[in-house]
């Protein structure tokens, strides 16, 4: 039965298989793990474990299986959806010590790494060979590949180079039954079902990643960065569509709204045009000749969309300056407000202007400021809701506003999460996006891998009961948006 063993006895079991300092049980030792980057949710685990070997993880999982103890894996704890939030009855499995780069295979262009290796560390290790790992979440100095795989993380450059999903070749997975699954390889496909695809983005609920082989790419020949300012955010939204419909796939195409521009100016002075309602940052890469043609084309498109100013970085230094404000947006916004709440919906790009306008209306309605800084080329929005948790009710208002934004994304044919995952945060919105039969399928898949529900239980997939309650609540308030619209 779950939790039938006392925590002291459980700790004894783990002491048998782990070094003494790898079992953390004191309150002050557990405190650092009580939340991830979604700090509104906090929960202490019963114990935190710090294995440094695969065999230790296997032993831990065996004990947890025997006593039916929930396991929450943790990489760097930068999840923005509460994916790494501990379970009250469970243990927290910190994988940060498994941080070895096992192999860089230059000629097959792969890196094989342990799960706790940081995203950026892979590119750093590949750098001497002129190679890099493409997915680059803004958190890349901290977040781990294990976390990236669990969340199918994206980044600024995934418009051209794909998400984590497109850049993982092989995984070694430990199932909760103690079996090791080797999925994929350095080759390009494998026999049987595409379990690799299923595993990526499964939020640590189907298995524990013990090892990953990732694809490395050669650095592009050259790159050029453009910055365009607009006096209306709608025009910037239309320009994004203009660029892509002209057959250009930029390496990155990002948008910042006025509030974000002001915040970054105060924070790190990137020198963005101060009169802009929105700016676009567009990075292009390729061969010299090809690149120059693209720069001219994009410049023309931006001007055709009534950009009030277009700059082309003349060198790397200026390009970095263009990126500086974008990269510092979140800390910069953090300076404006005691707390912020970052959302993550994706929409078809053509709805950008409409959705941004609706978000601004919702912001007025709930009297909370919302900043927008996001992956415009992918239609992946990151509305950032500014609030103060010390003001009673403000967190709830922020969550409500956030929920309404996500439902808006579903309404226009998009999704409630583009890269941050569902975690504990978007369980209610999952009920809006999926039918009962679909949710049942997810639960059955979970059970196929983990029949006792020990791996990260309660995350990512809501129970039908919860959805029924959420639905009832919504209808009561008359807010369920267009239940009859097909969601495909």
């Amino acid at each position: 039965m779950r939790g039938s063993i006392s925590t002291t006895d459980l700790a004894k079991q783990f002491h048998n298989v782990l070094p003494k300092d790898a079992v953390l049980d004191k309150d002050e030792q557990l405190r650092p793990y009580e939340c991830d980057a979604l700090t509104a949710y906090r929960q202490l685990p019963r114990l935190a474990l710090l294995p440094s070997k695969i065999e230790e993880i296997q032993a831990i999982v065996k004990i947890c299986k025997e006593y039916k103890i929930p396991i929450v894996a943790r990489g760097a704890g930068t999840s923005l959806s509460g994916g790494a939030l501990p379970h009250a009855d469970g243990i927290l499995l910190n994988l940060a010590k498994l941080n070895k780069i096992i192999e860089i295979d230059v000629h097959n262009r792969t890196a094989t790494v342990q799960p706790g290796v940081r995203n950026l560390a892979i590119s750093e290790a590949a750098e001497p060979h002129g190679l890099y790992y493409a997915p680059d979440p803004s958190s890349q100095i901290a977040c781990t590949i294990g976390g990236n795989i669990a969340e199918n993380s994206g980044g600024v450059h995934c418009l051209k180079y794909g998400l984590t999903l497109h850049n993982i070749l092989a995984l070694k997975i430990l199932t909760v039954d103690g079996e090791i699954l080797e999925l994929g390889g350095k080759n390009l496909d494998s026999s049987g079902f595409d379990l690799l695809a299923l595993m990526i983005g499964s939020e640590g609920m189907l298995g524990i990643t013990l090892e990953a082989t990732v694809k490395l790419l050669p650095h592009p020949h050259d790159r050029k960065v453009l910055l365009a300012a607009f006096d209306q955010i709608q025009k910037a939204g239309d320009a994004v569509n203009g660029i892509i419909s002209k057959g250009v796939i930029p390496a990155g195409l990002e948008m910042l709204d006025q509030l974000t521009i002001q915040a970054t100016e105060m924070y790190c002075s990137p020198g963005y045009p101060s009169n802009a309602a929105a700016i676009l940052i567009c990075e292009l890469d390729g061969f010299d000749e090809e690149l120059e043609t693209q720069v001219q084309l994009v410049k023309k498109i931006l001007i055709d969309h009534q950009a009030i100013e277009v700059r082309v970085a003349k060198d790397n230094q200026e390009a970095e300056l263009f990126w500086l404000g974008r990269k510092a947006s979140f800390p910069a916004l953090g300076n404006l407000t005691p707390d912020y709440y970052c959302m993550d919906g994706t929409i078809p790009r053509k709805h950008l202007a409409h959705v941004l306008e609706s978000i601004s209306n919702l912001s007025v309605k709930h009297s909370l400021r919302v900043a927008n800084v996001f992956h415009a080329g992918d239609g992946n929005l990151h509305p950032v809701i500014l609030y103060d948790a010390n003001v009673p009710g403000e967190l709830e208002t922020a969550e409500k506003l956030g929920g309404e934004i996500l439902e808006l994304c579903v309404e226009v044919g998009g999704t409630i999460t583009g890269e941050h995952g569902v975690g504990v945060e978007k369980l209610n919105q999952m009920c809006v996006q999926f039918s009962d039969a679909e949710l049942n399928t997810f639960h059955a898949i979970k059970a196929a891998f983990d029949e006792d529900g020990l791996l990260n239980p309660g995350k990512a997939i809501p129970t039908l009961h919860r959805c029924a309650e959420f639905g009832a609540m919504h209808v009561h308030h008359g807010k369920l948006p267009h239940p009859d619209i097909p969601r495909f």
Partner: protein, 351 residues
């Protein structure tokens, strides 16, 4: 353009009630792929039509029975392509069959697999329930990625009703060059070039000559040609169509054809008979009478797997799975097709 979802659903519901196995069929162009099975046909041929095509959003959604040709024609008008360059293997190839088989063509090397360009699918499970996974946008991590799990499952996990695929702009220019090299030198060269940012979009080695397709602007291609050397060929479209469709001379043979997937930089495999190489070395075609076990052992030795692509497909076609993997495959089959009526045995006898 017609929607037969209701008819197909009720056929499936009946089959579920009666536990009657079905063989899913659309264009019948890839029936050869996978194990031979005999069951009542569930035809998707009439379930056709492009539902939504948004060139500026880079996606298309179409019903599964839609001819692949219709899709490629529609997107070509907007100067777009299917990134994975899927083979037809016959005039009637459909979208559903393409996704179910998950076979990509020459462009796989730099534009990704069929699964990589899937955005969302709508399927009927083995009970006839309509399920939608994924959507129309690239970045979408809500729920487990069932739409990509379905891809390449040969219809054993669900009947595809419609699919949304990501598209790419057609490259401004394409040229093919040819060099004469021995096999290991060809493998070596392909991988050296792939370690540079050259826009190589296809490679094929026939045992004597190495063909390389470059896709980019004319000026970039000219610059790369200088680096690679070799000679240009002018019949470029027909050449790569022949590779993709296996109408090139190499593929015309009565011998069993093995498809061996290996890490790209693997030396020439030790398997008797002629071979050809694609995908910068990652895909090896072997025309060989060698016994199955020796071929599979050789593939495993280098970290790959072997599929009997054409030959006596009554027995084992795909590379055997490990025990834990097969156990999971069975459970997943049970989830989506609880009474085992969808293409049973098409992939593995046990599924």
């Amino acid at each position: 353009m017609s929607d037969y979802r209701d008819e197909i659903t009720s056929k499936l519901e009946d089959a579920f009630q009666q536990k009657k196995a079905l063989q899913i069929k659309a264009g019948s162009t890839k029936q050869f792929y996978g194990r031979d099975i005999y069951a009542e046909e569930l035809a998707l041929t009439d379930h056709t039509g492009i539902i939504e095509y948004e060139p500026s959003e880079l996606y298309i959604t179409a019903r599964s029975g839609t001819p692949l040709r219709e899709i490629e024609q529609a997107i070509a008008e907007q100067h777009q392509i299917l990134p994975c360059e899927p083979p037809y293997f016959g005039a009637n190839a459909t979208l559903g069959g393409t996704v179910a088989c998950g076979l990509a063509g020459p462009r796989r090397v730099n534009a990704g697999s069929v699964r990589d360009c899937i955005l969302g699918t709508e399927i009927l499970n083995g009970k006839g329930e309509l399920l939608r996974f994924g959507g129309k946008v690239m970045k979408n991590v809500a729920g487990y990625d069932v739409s990509r799990l379905i891809c390449g499952a040969l219809g054993t996990l669900g009947v595809l009703m419609s699919v949304s695929l990501r598209l790419l702009p057609k490259p401004a220019c394409e040229q093919t060059i040819v060099l004469t090299l021995d096999s290991n030198a060809a493998i070596n060269k392909m991988n050296l070039w792939t370690n540079t940012p050259m826009p190589i979009s296809a490679t094929f080695y026939d045992g004597h000559d190495l063909y390389i397709r470059l896709s980019s602007s004319l000026s970039a291609i000219e610059a790369c040609k200088k680096e690679i050397g070799g000679e240009s060929i002018d019949e470029k479209d027909i050449f790569w169509t022949n590779i993709k469709e296996q109408t090139h001379n190499f593929f015309i043979s009565d011998k069993p054809l093995w498809r061996i997937s290996v890490p790209p930089n693997t030396e020439t495999l030790n398997i008797s008979g002629e071979n050809a190489i694609e995908w910068n070395g990652a895909l090896r075609w072997h025309k060989s009478d060698a016994d199955e076990n020796s071929i599979r052992t050789e593939a495993e030795r280098v970290g790959g797997h072997a599929t009997l692509f054409k030959g006596n497909t009554t027995d084992q076609v795909f590379h055997p799975l490990s025990k834990p993997s097969m156990k999971l495959h069975k459970k997943l089959k049970q989830v989506l097709d609880p009474v085992g009526i969808l293409n049973p045995g098409k992939m593995f006898a046990e599924l």
